[in-house]
Symmetry: C2
Amino acid sequence: MKDQIIISKATIDRLPLYYRTLRRSQEEGLEIISSEELGHRLGVTPEQIRKDLAAFGQFGKKGVGYFVRELIRNIGEILGLDRKWSFAVVGIGHLGWALVHYRNFKALGFHLAAMFDVNPEKIGQDIGGVIVDPIERIEEIIKERNINIGVIAVPQSQAQAVADRLVGAGVRGIWNFAPCKINVPESVKVVNEDLSVGLSSLSYYLGRML
Amino acid sequence: MKDQIIISKATIDRLPLYYRTLRRSQEEGLEIISSEELGHRLGVTPEQIRKDLAAFGQFGKKGVGYFVRELIRNIGEILGLDRKWSFAVVGIGHLGWALVHYRNFKALGFHLAAMFDVNPEKIGQDIGGVIVDPIERIEEIIKERNINIGVIAVPQSQAQAVADRLVGAGVRGIWNFAPCKINVPESVKVVNEDLSVGLSSLSYYLGRML
């Protein structure tokens, strides 16, 4: 059933925002929310919301709205958030440091299970109950803790080597912050994150507006 | 001329990657690059590259490839990178700290011109020659230094107040890392950055692959 669904990347990228906003609405006691109200809270048009959600099922009642709890459960299932993923961050520099302190991952059910670095000053540090381990222990710890996702926050020159070790250790997904392409077997999914994109797209729009 | 071009968000998001990869190719001494080679370096299909670049002009020679220097200049112009934007980061917590240390912004021509925080321990710190100023000075400094872009890296509860001050001070664009919608006048462009999206989309794909 699930495999028959084809959803655009843009829709998939909006689903976590829907999920978070619905959770917040639920905390406020809302049981039903209209696409207008949801759109208002998200800064997305009601039409876009109806289109996105229609792509994978019938979650609302016409003229009434969406049932908040049901929609949260459904989007959570679609995003695989019901699975409790564990992730490891490799590279505890400025960016890695920010990532391991980012609170919203936990709220989405992602568990920070390990951290790795080469710097002796970083190794042994306790961040929220997790210890920074030396990079030599990647394989052992990834297997031991059953970690599914590796986050690459090392400099570009080390990104491929780290990716190889993560793949060898058995991760199924890599979230890559290094500004370069990494090569992995087809069985491993890579999501590249590029912080330059945000500023560049602002620059694009501002250049057109001025 | 420029205003007649309509380009999809997905294409705009890929342009900075093209730009960076082309710059690196140029540094290696390449004068001409085929869409196959560019695709190989980017992890994007040659078809996608040809389609993206065809959307705003004729930059290559059939059977030869793209002229690297010309393409860099053109993409730079499209992205507005020839304008030398100045940006300010508000909130020097873990994420703000990572942003002000991120090197790729400078390589794209973005100039970090100011930083603001409320924490007395942060205020006065010198990061790469720029001093962290108290948040009370936003209006004065934004105007004085002619800053176009404000980056919001404060907690959600303060995001709207910071946005209001940035807009009041005259920024034209806001890059918002707070996990909430901010309201600004239509004349100001907002790009929302949500780090949860990367992990959630990995979760989505992995859920389908396992």
